[in-house]
């Protein structure tokens, strides 16, 4: 009985235990679960919170960025609109400015015309007016070019094709900047290099654009150079296979970075351009290479690339040398575009260490019009900027170094006395290398007389001892183009040698130099012709110069240089010196036989009008005219001439003048007295110069006076050419008849 009771609570107990156990477990598990659940829930909530927060943050950020972008966009739109407006304004402004500038230029043009009508022709004023006219034309061209600028950038620019003269163009451009440079002592010169431009002078292409390019480069050079020189070098060649290597390196050296892949790209690009360019496919295509070299500020390496970008100035502060020279920096960009349009490339050439300044080089392709020579001989490659010229620094006596005894005495000699260093160097190089002349450079006044003496001594020796052959020694010609036909040839009378003296007298001529010149002229060997070129002003009175002398104004380059060289009766040059139809032959052709050629006549007259008439009449007859204004001067001249004879100590003194035309009535010492004094002076030397009287009276007493004074004959005052000649003839005949 007890057991059964016990049995009931046992399962209950068990159950309870179980329950408690389960409860415990449950409770424990429950706790666990709850904790777990809690943790999960917390986790979830946290992550939710985080994501919400993140979401919010991102949204905010996005919103902010959007706001920012919006505002930026709005700003950009505004800026664009503003830029467009500016551009439109600029167009209208430039159109208006264009109109205004043209109107002003037209005004200037009219005024120049009016000045010209009023100015006396052939005066300096007319030359200035001509220059003004061409400057005005250049301004007009520049104006057109500014309008063209957009066209080029848009690629719509068309190059014109018209014939023009390359030589003239380069000279014209250099001459534009010459006066400017001269003002600040910068010499602007044209370096003919190997003379190839002369061969390819007639070309077809766009003259205006090429001038714009050269103008731009020279203008920059002028702006940034305050001392030294600016050189424009130009040479031409037939494009050959060497091209591919030449095009790219010129530009890539400095303007493109060292990345080889870029360089390669550029090569290909340029090669492609070359292939496509219509001009270069033409068989008559000629490549012209130009260099503008200056000794100015220079462009730092890092800025060299960017100068070709429009509107970038190298110098931030504007250099104002003459007024405000604030450059727009516009030029080089257009220049590069134009050069590329012409099939070439432009770049900056590295100078040697120690040389300051910049050197731009570019090449273009043009079609040559007439090809005078079919053969293609190599242009003498003159490494223009790099040659060492120690010899010119040593002064005159360098010829010892390059003496070739067989041919040297047959070469023609040039004595160069030019103040500007670089120009002197360029001329010397050209004459020596291209023309094959022997050049003596004189650097200082003191060297001049000894150089003259040396040269005269050499030719006197060689002319007396050398053979009388009249053929040009082929050894000095190298068998290339010999163009003798453009010079006068008279059979066996061909003069084969000449001495050319170029003297720069802007600083005046010292007495030693004048004496040395006079010395040189006396007893000059007959088979050598002497030509003296005076730069700027003649050393002595212009009337006293022999008619073979030339007086030129600076600058000596281009057509002036060729004119000088042309009158040297022969050529050993490898270029054909062409005659420009525009250049007038101002000088009397020496070979034409005029009745009084070679005679020295002294005209003594106080009235300046009569003096002018007489002088012109006599020089038209071919004589060399010297003038005096009164009797005393005439006496002095004759005495001086006679004294010089004595100084030289020649045994048979030659009279200083062949004839004297003497006016009878002059203030101070009149004609009669002067004649008497002259006769007295002459008696000491045993000379008698024929004196012809100019008189206004023809009465018998007058004639008697004339002959009593010692004059030989008389002429009415207003006599011009014919009568003078008749009287001279008469005198000659009486002289001759007296001898027999």
């Amino acid at each position: 009985m007890n057991l059964s009771l016990f049995k009931v609570p046992m399962p209950v107990g068990v159950c309870l235990v179980l329950v408690y156990n389960v409860h415990d477990v449950l409770q424990r598990d429950y706790h666990k679960n709850i904790k777990f659940g809690f943790m999960l829930i917390i986790l979830m909530i946290v992550s939710l919170a985080i994501s919400i927060v993140t979401f919010v943050i991102l949204t905010i950020r996005a919103a902010r960025r959007e706001m920012y972008l919006c505002s930026a966009l709005i700003k950009q739109m505004e800026a664009t609109q503003q830029a467009e407006r500016k551009s439109m304004n600029k167009s209208t402004a430039s159109a208006r400015a264009n109109h205004d500038v043209r109107a002003s230029l037209a005004g200037i043009s009219g005024l120049i015309w009016m000045c010209r009508v009023q100015a006396s022709p052939q005066s300096e004023l007319v030359k200035y007016l001509d220059h003004m006219e061409s400057c005005k034309n250049d301004l007009l061209d520049m104006l057109n070019s500014i309008l063209d600028e957009n066209k080029i950038e848009e690629g719509k620019k068309q190059l014109k094709e018209e014939e023009f003269n390359m030589e003239e163009l380069v000279e014209h451009v250099v001459n534009i900047y010459y006066p400017n440079g001269a003002m600040k002592n910068v010499d602007v010169l044209l370096d003919p290099c190997d003379g190839s431009i002369a061969r390819f002078s007639r070309v077809k292409g766009d003259r205006i654009e090429l001038q714009r390019i050269l103008n731009n480069l020279l203008q920059n050079a002028d702006k940034f150079t305050s001392e030294g020189h600016i050189t424009l070098r130009a040479w031409a060649r037939k494009p050959g296979f060497e091209e591919s290597s030449n095009l790219a390196p010129n530009t890539s050296d400095s303007s493109i970075s060292c990345m080889p892949c870029l360089r390669l790209q550029k090569d290909e690009a340029s090669a492609e351009v070359r292939v496509l360019n219509r001009v270069q496919q033409d068989p008559n295509c000629v490549e012209f290479i130009f260099e503008v070299d200056d000794t100015g500020k220079g462009i730092p390496k890092e800025k060299q690339k960017s100068v070709f970008e429009n509107y970038v100035q190298v110098n931030d502060q504007t250099t104002s040398v003459h007024g405000s020279q604030a450059g727009t920096g516009l030029g080089l960009g257009i220049t590069q575009s134009l050069v590329r349009l012409m099939g070439g490339e432009i770049g900056i050439v590295d100078k040697q260490i120690g040389e300051k300044g910049t050197c731009f080089r570019f090449n273009i392709f043009l079609i040559a019009c007439d090809q005078p020579q079919l053969q293609e001989h190599e242009a003498i490659s003159v490494n223009c900027a790099k040659e060492e010229d120690l010899e010119s620094q040593l002064g005159g006596d360098y010829s010892v170094a390059s003496d070739n005894s067989i041919t040297s005495h047959q070469k023609s000699n040039v004595i160069l006395f030019i103040k500007e260093e670089e120009r002197s160097r360029v001329l010397r190089r050209f004459m020596m290398n291209v023309l094959g002349l022997k050049v003596h450079v004189v650097n200082r006044n003191e060297q001049f007389p000894q150089t003259l003496k040396k040269v005269k001594g050499k030719i006197t020796n060689s002319s007396s001892s050398s053979c009388k052959s009249k053929e040009i020694p082929l050894s000095s010609l190298d068998g290339t183009d010999i163009d003798i036909s453009s010079f006068q040839r008279r059979g066996r009378g061909l003069v084969i040698r000449f001495i050319l003296i170029i003297i720069d007298t802007s600083d005046g001529l010292t007495r030693e130099m004048s004496r040395a010149m006079a010395e040189l002229r006396k007893d000059f060997p007959k088979n050598v012709s002497l030509r003296v070129v005076w730069l700027d002003k003649p050393g002595v009175d212009e009337d006293k110069l022999p008619s073979t002398d030339i007086v030129l104004t600076k600058p000596l380059h281009g057509s002036r240089l060729f004119r000088v060289l042309k009158f040297t009766h022969e050529t050993t040059s490898r270029i054909k010196i062409q005659q420009h139809p525009l250049v007038q032959d101002v000088f009397v052709d020496v070979n034409k036989k005029l009745p009084l050629t070679g005679k020295k006549i002294l005209v003594v007259e106080d009235d300046r009008m009569l003096l002018m008439i007489c002088r012109t009449a006599v020089s038209k007859l071919g004589a060399t005219v010297y003038t005096c204004k009164n009797g005393q001067e005439a006496l002095d001249e004759v005495c001086k001439g006679l004294n010089e004879q004595r100084d030289i100590g020649s045994s048979t003194p030659s009279p200083p003048f062949d004839y004297i035309l003497m006016d009878c009535e002059m203030p101070g010492m009149n004609g009669f007295e002067a004649t008497k004094c002259i006769r007295k002076e002459e008696a000491r030397y045993g000379i008698r110069i024929p004196i012809i009287a100019f008189t206004a009276h023809t009465e018998k007493e007058e004639i008697d006076k004339i002959f009593q004074a010692g004059m030989d004959y008389y002429l009415p005052k207003e006599s011009k050419g014919e009568e003078i000649l008749k009287v001279i003839d008469y005198i000659e005949h009486t002289k001759v008849s007296k001898m027999f």
Binding site: F587, K620, A696, E722
Partner: protein, 151 residues
């Protein structure tokens, strides 16, 4: 006016000057001395003639204005004027000078004054003629033509 027309008027004008005695052979010789190497020779010479003549005429006026006229001085001036006008070929002026010198020899002040008046008139006439001639030349050159040679 076109070039041909200008040239024709030039030739006619030149011929008339010779015909009427304003210019003579000396002027032709002067023209012959002009050439390409000396293209402004005639103009320059004539300008000098104008300058000298005006100076001389002034001197003459002053000399004849004196209470005591120095006839030697007057004669010297006229002599010079005769010389330069003769060289240039201004025939009528030269002839007047010859007459003037006769008056000077006679020492006749009244006659001299009349002569002076006449010379001045002749001088102004010839100056006018020559200036017109040069303007014609300039017009021809400006029109691009060449100045015709007149025998």
């Amino acid at each position: 006016m076109e070039v041909g027309q200008l040239q024709r008027s030039f030739v006619e004008y030149m011929a008339s000057l010779f015909r009427e005695g304003f210019l003579d052979g000396q002027f032709s010789q002067l023209q012959q001395l002009q050439d390409d190497s000396n293209p402004e020779f005639v103009v320059e010479v004539v300008s000098l003639f104008f300058e000298d003549s005006e100076r001389l005429l002034n001197d003459l006026t002053m000399a004849l204005d004196q209470p005591n006229v120095d006839f030697k001085q007057v004669d010297a001036h006229v002599h010079q004027l005769k010389g330069s006008s003769s060289s240039v070929g201004a025939q009528r002026v030269k002839n007047c000078c010859v007459l003037f010198r006769n008056c000077c020899e006679e020492q006749n002040t009244e006659a001299c004054l009349r002569c002076l008046q006449q010379i001045k008139q002749e001088y102004l006439l010839v100056k006018n003629k020559l200036q017109t001639l040069f303007e014609l030349e300039q017009q021809i050159v400006a029109a691009g033509g060449a100045i015709p040679m007149v025998q």
